[in-house]
C-alpha cells in the first residue's frame, strides 16, 4: 500500500494562478448580478466565456501537473492568510482536485452553451447565467481549497446556487417549495459537516489537509489525543454532510423535488457535479475513514441502500426528469459504495463519478431537448416515437443509456463494474445487492428509452416536436463521445488509479481490468441487465403504454411515492415537529416567554428608563459628566489606596 504523497508549496506557472479558475466565473457572476438589465443582451455570452476561460486554466494546470514527477503532484498554492493563526486561504492542485476541476469546467461549459438555446425564450436568461457562473465558482472553491474551511465556504456556496437555481422560476409555488426543501434538508447535513469540522479543529488545531493526512491521524491516535470513538464520530458526521449534499439515504428527499429547476440546472448541479460533492468529501477525508472501519462500513451500507432505493424509485416515475433523478441517486449510491472501500474503491468511485458526469448530463440535456420540443411536457406517457423526429437527441440519449446500464465497452461498463467487483471482494452481500441494482438500472433506463423514443406517438394535440437548434445538439454530441470512450480510457491499465495515487494512495495489489471480463460477477451483472431491459421491452416497448398511469401494484405505488420517504419525513419529523412546536409555543407563552420577554422587556425597559436621563438639557448632561468625573476620581483614589 502506497500512501498519498506529501503536499508541496507551489509558486509560479499556471498552477500558481489557478485561483483564476474561481475568480473568473465569480467575476462573471458579479458583473451580471450588479450590471442588472444593462447586461441582458450579452450576459449569456459573458457567462459562457467565463466558464470556458476557467476550463482553459484547468486544462493548462492539468498539463502542468502532468509535467511534474508523480511524487510531486500535490501542489499547494498559498493565497493569503484568512483568519490569522486559524486558517490560510489556499488551493490544492492534485490529481483528485484537478479531475473535479476538469469535469466541472468542461461539462459546465457545455451546459452553459446548451443553456443559451434552452433559455433563449426566458426573460431572465442573464440572471440564470449569473447563477450558473456563481455555481461554477463555488464548486471549484469546494474542490480546489486546500483546507476544510475553504471547502465549507464552497459547500455553502453551491448550496446557495442550488437554492437559487431550483427556485429560478419562483413564480411556480412548486419550484419555490422545492428550493426551500432542498435548503432545509441540506441544513441537516451541513450541521453534521460543521460539527465534524469543529471536532477536527479541536483535535488537530488545523483545517489544512496537509496537517490532516493519514500520518497525522495515526500520530494523534497513537499519542492519545484522538480516540477511536472520536475518529468514528468524525467519519459519521462527515458522512452526514455528504448524505445531505449527495442526496443519500436518509437525506435523499430533496433531490426529486429539485427537478423543478430548469433542466440545464438539473444536468449540471443535480446530476454531474454538486451532488457528487459528498463523494469528494468522503474521498478527500480518506485519512479519517481509513482509521475508522465502522464509519467506512456505514458509508458502504448507505451507498448500497441508496443505490437500490434510487433504482426502485426510478422504475415507477413517469416524469422523465424525476426518473433521471432517481437514477442519479442510485448512481451516486454506487460512488458512495466505492468511496467506502479504500483506495481501490476511491479510484473507481471517482472514475464512475466522471463518466457519470458525462452520460448523466448527456441524458438530462437530452431530456431537456425533448421537453423543449414537446412544450415542456415531462410526462413520458405523452411521449413515444420521438426517434423519428429528433434523431440527434435520440441517438445521443441512446448512447448515454447504453453507458449507464453498463453495456460492454462503453464508459459506465468499466467504472460500475469496477465498483461492483471491488465491493464483492470486500463483502459479498453488498456486492450482490449492487449487482441487483445494476439489473434494476437496466429495467428503468430501458423503460425510459422505450417510452420516450419508441412505440406509438402519444403526443398532446398541440405538440409539434422538432430537433433542437445546434447550440443544444452540439453539447449533446460532445457529451455522448465522453459517454462512449472515457470509461475504457480511464480504467484499462489502471490508468486513472495510478494518476490518482499521489492524492489518495495506491493499493498494494492492483486490480486487472480487461476490455471485456468474463468473471462470474460480470456475467451475472450483464445477465440481470439484459433481463431488466427485456422486461422493459415487454412492458413498455412491445405493449401499449396507457396515457394515464394505471394504479399499479403495491410495489409500484411504493416506488412512485418515493418509497414513502416524504411520508416518513412527515410522520417522523414534520408532524412531531409541529406538535413539538405547538407544545413549545404553549410552554413558551406560559413559562419561557415570561422569562425571555421579561429579559427583553428588562433590557428595553432599562433602555427606556435610562433614556429618560437623556433629557436634552445641556445642564443635566454637564451634571452627568461631573458626576462621572467624581466617580472616576473616587475610583482611582480607592484603587490607589489599595
Amino acid at each position: 500500500m502506497q500512501s498519498p504523497v506529501e503536499i508541496f508549496q507551489h509558486s509560479g506557472g499556471v498552477i500558481g494562478v489557478s485561483w483564476l479558475m474561481i475568480a473568473l466565473p465569480l467575476l462573471g457572476a458579479a458583473v451580471l448580478l450588479l450590471g442588472g438589465r444593462r447586461t441582458d443582451r450579452w450576459g449569456h455570452l459573458l457567462g459562457v466565456v467565463m466558464s470556458l476561460a476557467a476550463f482553459v486554466v484547468a486544462v493548462a494546470a492539468f498539463v502542468e501537473l502532468l509535467g511534474l514527477p508523480a511524487g510531486e503532484r500535490r501542489q499547494a498554492v498559498g493565497l493569503y492568510e484568512f483568519i490569522p493563526g486559524v486558517a490560510d486561504m489556499g488551493l490544492l492542485i492534485d490529481p483528485l482536485s484537478i479531475s473535479f476541476a476538469l469535469l466541472i469546467t468542461g461539462v459546465g461549459s457545455l451546459i452553459h452553451i446548451y443553456s443559451i438555446g434552452y433559455m433563449s425564450h426566458d426573460p431572465d436568461r442573464r440572471r440564470f447565467f449569473s447563477y450558473l457562473n456563481l455555481f461554477v465558482a463555488a464548486m471549484l472553491l469546494l474542490v480546489l481549497s486546500d483546507n476544510y474551511l475553504g471547502l465549507f465556504v464552497g459547500w455553502e456556496g453551491v448550496g446557495l446556487a442550488s437554492y437559487l437555481l431550483i427556485g429560478f422560476w419562483q413564480f411556480k409555488p412548486t419550484a419555490a417549495t422545492a428550493a426551500k426543501k432542498a435548503f432545509i434538508v441540506n441544513r441537516v447535513g451541513d450541521f453534521g459537516l460543521l460539527i465534524a469540522l469543529f471536532t477536527i479543529w479541536s483535535v488537530f488545531g488545523s483545517f489544512a489537509y496537509k496537517n490532516l493526512g493519514a500520518g497525522a491521524v495515526q500520530d494523534a491516535m497513537a499519542g492519545g489525543s484522538l480516540s477511536q470513538g472520536t475518529v468514528t464520530a468524525i467519519g459519521l458526521l462527515l458522512l452526514l454532510g455528504a448524505c445531505g449534499k449527495s442526496a443519500q439515504l436518509p437525506l435523499q428527499s430533496w433531490l426529486l423535488d429539485a427537478m423543478e429547476g430548469p433542466t440545464p440546472v438539473s444536468a449540471l448541479i443535480h446530476a454531474a457535479t454538486m451532488v457528487t460533492a459528498g463523494v469528494y468529501l468522503v474521498v478527500r477525508s480518506g485519512a479519517f475513514f481509513e482509521a475508522a472501519p465502522t464509519a467506512q462500513l456505514v458509508v458502504t451500507i448507505v451507498g448500497v441502500a441508496t443505490l437500490l432505493a434510487g433504482a426502485i424509485i426510478g422504475c415507477a416515475k413517469d416524469d422523465i426528469k424525476k426518473g433521471l433523478a432517481g437514477s442519479t441517486m442510485s448512481q451516486i449510491g454506487y460512488m458512495m459504495l466505492g468511496a467506502g472501500l479504500g483506495p481501490v474503491g476511491y479510484a473507481f468511485a471517482i472514475a464512475h463519478l466522471i463518466t457519470h458526469g458525462f452520460f448523466k448530463a448527456n441524458m438530462f440535456l437530452g431530456a431537456g431537448s425533448v421537453m423543449h420540443a414537446m412544450n415542456d411536457e415531462v410526462n413520458m406517457r405523452r411521449y413515444g416515437g420521438l426517434f423519428a423526429v429528433m434523431k440527434i437527441t435520440a441517438v445521443t440519449f441512446f448512447i448515454g443509456y447504453l453507458a449507464i446500464i453498463g453495456f460492454p465497452l462503453l464508459s459506465g461498463y468499466y467504472t460500475k463494474e469496477g465498483i461492483i467487483e471491488t465491493a464483492m471482494e470486500h463483502n459479498e452481500i453488498l456486492g450482490w445487492l449492487a449487482v441487483l441494482g445494476a439489473g434494476l438500472t437496466g429495467f428503468y433506463m430501458s423503460r425510459m428509452v422505450f417510452m420516450t423514443f419508441f412505440g406509438k406517438r402519444r403526443w398532446a394535440d398541440d405538440a409539434h416536436p422538432h430537433e433542437s437548434p445546434s447550440v443544444m445538439t452540439v453539447p449533446l454530441v460532445l457529451l455522448s463521445i465522453g459517454s462512449i470512450g472515457l470509461g475504457a480510457y480511464l480504467i484499462l491499465g489502471n490508468r486513472f488509479m495510478k494518476f490518482l495515487a499521489p492524492a489518495v494512495g495506491l493499493p498494494a495489489e492492483l486490480p486487472e481490468p480487461h476490455i471485456f471480463g468474463v468473471g462470474t460477477v460480470g456475467l451475472a451483472t450483464l445477465a440481470l441487465v439484459a433481463i431488466g431491459a427485456a422486461f422493459a421491452w415487454f412492458r413498455y416497448g412491445a405493449a401499449e403504454v396507457p396515457e394515464v398511469a394505471p394504479r399499479g401494484s403495491f410495489l409500484t405505488v411504493f416506488a412512485r411515492r418515493d418509497l414513502y420517504g416524504d411520508a416518513l419525513n412527515e410522520a417522523l419529523f414534520m408532524r412531531p415537529g409541529q406538535w413539538l412546536t405547538r407544545i413549545a409555543v404553549f410552554f413558551d407563552n406560559r413559562g419561557i416567554d415570561g422569562l425571555v420577554n421579561g429579559l427583553a422587556a428588562g433590557i428595553g425597559g432599562t433602555s427606556g428608563r435610562v433614556r429618560r436621563i437623556q433629557t436634552g438639557y445641556v445642564r443635566s448632561y454637564a451634571l452627568s459628566i461631573l458626576f462621572g468625573a467624581a466617580v472616576v476620581v473616587g475610583a482611582l483614589l480607592y484603587v490607589g489606596t489599595m
Binding site: 493569503y80 492568510e81 483568519i83 433590557i603 427606556g608 445641556v618 448632561y621 459628566i625 462621572g628
Partner: protein, 516 residues
C-alpha cells in the same frame, strides 16, 4: 542663557502632513476673504482635496523613509509608527468626508440668518453657500493630526482645541432642521469646553506631581515615584475624563446622540469616524506612554468604564427611533469595544498586539461609519433626510441596492464574518483575551449580541416590512456621494475578506510601539 532665544529645531519633512493641512486651511481663510463669492467653492474643493492628498502622500513618504527614534519639534510631537498609521486613516477618511460635504443640500446658505426668517429665504434664493466649511474642516483635520501625535500635554491640548472648535461650528450649519442643528452646536461647545477644563485641570495636577508636561517626562517621573500620590491620581482621572469625553465613553457619552443627530450628516460622518480615531491615538499616548507606570491604578477604573460604555451603548441603542441617534449609540458601543484593547496591556509583544488590533479596528470602523452616514444622506423626504426609523420601512423594496449596501454596513457594525467589523472585533477581543481581560471580552460579546439585535432590526425593517405609502424618496446621489458609498463598501468587503495587508501594516506600525 545670555538673553538670546534659541531657535527651536523643527523637522519640517516629518511634520509636513500637518503643515500642509494647516497651510491649506490658512489659504482657505484667505480665499474666503479675497475671492469673489461665485468662485469660492470651485477653488476650495480642489484645494481641500489636494491638501489632504498631499498630506497623505507625505505621510506615506514619511513611513517609507523609516521612522525616527526620538520625538520631533523639540519633543512636542512624536511621529512614530502608530502616529503615521492614525494620520493615514484620518486623512483618507477626511478625504472621503469632503466628497460628502461637497453637497450644497447639506449646508445652510447663511449661518447667521435666523431660522425661518426672510433673511434666510433671501439667502437661499440668491444661492449663497457657507463655503467656510472647507477651511474649517482642514483646521479640524490639522488639529486631529496634532492631537493624535502630540508628545506633551500642552501640544495635545492645543491639538484638542484646534480639532474641536471648527467642529462646534460645523455642527451648526445644517440646512434643514436648523434649530436642532444650532442646539447641537451649542451643546457640543458647552460640554466640550467643560471637558476641556477637566483635561486642563488634570494636566495642571499631573504637572504639580511630576514637574513636566512631556509624556516621556511624566513617565520617567512616575518611575522615580515620590510625593503626593493623590495629586497624581486625581490628575490622571481628570485627564481621563477629558479624553474619554471625546471618544464618547460612558458616562460621558450624553452629547453624542444629540450632536450626531443635529449636525449635518456629512459632518457627522466626519466626526464619527475621524474624531474617534484621533481621540484613541491620544488616549493610547497618555495612558500607555505617560501613565504606563500607573497602569495598576487606572486599569481597574478603565475596566469599569469599558464595561459601562459597551453596555450603555448597546442597551440605549435599542429604543432609539432615529437612525442617526441609533448610529451614535452604536458608536458609543464601539468605543467600548476599542477600550478593551486599551486595557489589554502587558509585555511589549502584548502591547504591540493590542495596539495593532486597535489600529485595524479604527480603520475598519471608520470606513464603515462614513459609508453608513453617506447612505443616510441619500434617504430623504420633503423635510430633508428621513431620520425616523419608521420611514425606512420597506426601503429594500424601493431601492434594493441602497438598502442592501446599508444592510451590509450594519452587518459590519455587528461584526459578522466576511466583513471588516468581524476582524476588527476579533483582533481586539483576541488581544484582550491574551492580555488577561477575559471577563471584559465576555461582556463585549454579550453586548455585541444585544447590539446585533438593533442592527438586524433595521435590516428587517428595510426588507420585510411594507413601505409606507408616502415613504421617503431616494435622492439621486452626487458623484461624490456614490463614490463614498462605493469606497466604503469596498473597504468593508476587502478588509473582511482579505484583511492581511492592512493587518500587516497595522502590525508594522505597532511593532515599535510609541516613541517617547
Amino acid at each position: 542663557m545670555n538673553g538670546t532665544i534659541q531657535a527651536p529645531t523643527i523637522e519640517y519633512a516629518l511634520l509636513s502632513p500637518m503643515l500642509i493641512v494647516f497651510g491649506a486651511a490658512i489659504i482657505g481663510v484667505l480665499i474666503e476673504a479675497f475671492a469673489p463669492r461665485y468662485l469660492r467653492k470651485s477653488i476650495h474643493m480642489p484645494l481641500t482635496l489636494l491638501a489632504l492628498l498631499g498630506a497623505f502622500a507625505t505621510t506615506i513618504l514619511g513611513a517609507a523613509n523609516g521612522l525616527p527614534t526620538s520625538a520631533s519639534a523639540m519633543g512636542a510631537v512624536a511621529v512614530d509608527g502608530p502616529a503615521l498609521f492614525v494620520w493615514g486613516i484620518i486623512l483618507i477618511l477626511a478625504f472621503v468626508s469632503v466628497l460628502l460635504i461637497n453637497d450644497d443640500e447639506q449646508f445652510v446658505a447663511q449661518a447667521a440668518a435666523v431660522p425661518g426668517s426672510s433673511d434666510e429665504e433671501e439667502a437661499v434664493r440668491s444661492g449663497y453657500a457657507q463655503t467656510e466649511v472647507y477651511p474649517l474642516l482642514l483646521f479640524a483635520v490639522g488639529g486631529m493630526l496634532l492631537f493624535s501625535s502630540a508628545n506633551d500635554l500642552l501640544a495635545m491640548f492645543v491639538g484638542l482645541e484646534v480639532m474641536s472648535l471648527p467642529l462646534y461650528l460645523l455642527c451648526g450649519l445644517a440646512r434643514r432642521r436648523r434649530l436642532l442643528s444650532q442646539e447641537a452646536s451649542v451643546k457640543y461647545f458647552l460640554l466640550g469646553a467643560f471637558s476641556s477644563a477637566f483635561f486642563l485641570y488634570g494636566m495642571a495636577l499631573v504637572y504639580g506631581y511630576t514637574g513636566t508636561v512631556s509624556l516621556r517626562g511624566i513617565g520617567d517621573a512616575l518611575g522615580a515615584g515620590s510625593g503626593q500620590e493623590t495629586l497624581l491620581l486625581i490628575g490622571t482621572a481628570m485627564l481621563g475624563v477629558g479624553l474619554l469625553f471625546k471618544i464618547g465613553a460612558a458616562p460621558f457619552q450624553a452629547w453624542k446622540p444629540d450632536v450626531y443627530q443635529g449636525a449635518p450628516t456629512a459632518v457627522t460622518a466626519l466626526m464619527a469616524s475621524t474624531v474617534l480615531v484621533a481621540a484613541f491615538g491620544a488616549v493610547l499616548r497618555v495612558f500607555w506612554v505617560a501613565l504606563g507606570g500607573l497602569e495598576w491604578n487606572w486599569q481597574p477604573v478603565m475596566w469599569g468604564i469599558a464595561i459601562l460604555t459597551m453596555v450603555v451603548g448597546a442597551i440605549l441603542a435599542i429604543t432609539q427611533t432615529d437612525i442617526k441617534r441609533m448610529l451614535a449609540y452604536s458608536s458609543v458601543a464601539h468605543a467600548g469595544f476599542l477600550l478593551t484593547g486599551v486595557i489589554a496591556t502587558g509585555a511589549a509583544a502584548q502591547n504591540a498586539k493590542a495596539l495593532s488590533a486597535i489600529l485595524f479596528y479604527l480603520a475598519a470602523y471608520g470606513f464603515t461609519t462614513v459609508g453608513a452616514f453617506a447612505v443616510v444622506t441619500m434617504v430623504r423626504d420633503a423635510g430633508g433626510e428621513a431620520g425616523h426609523l419608521s420611514r425606512w420601512a420597506g426601503l429594500g423594496k424601493r431601492s434594493p441596492f441602497l438598502a442592501g449596501v446599508f444592510a451590509f454596513f450594519l452587518l459590519a457594525f455587528a461584526g459578522i464574518p466576511l466583513t471588516s467589523g468581524f476582524f476588527g472585533k476579533y483582533a481586539v477581543f483576541a488581544a484582550a483575551v491574551s492580555g488577561g481581560a477575559v471577563p471584559l471580552v465576555v461582556v463585549g460579546v454579550v453586548s455585541s449580541a444585544i447590539a446585533a439585535f438593533f442592527y438586524v432590526r433595521v435590516i428587517v425593517l428595510m426588507f420585510f416590512n411594507d413601505p409606507a405609502a408616502d415613504g421617503p424618496s431616494i435622492a439621486v446621489p452626487t458623484v461624490g456621494t456614490s463614490a463614498v458609498v462605493a469606497l466604503a463598501a469596498a473597504a468593508t468587503v476587502v478588509l473582511g475578506v482579505f484583511p492581511q495587508p492592512v493587518l500587516d501594516l497595522a502590525d508594522q506600525a505597532a511593532s515599535a510601539l510609541f516613541i517617547r
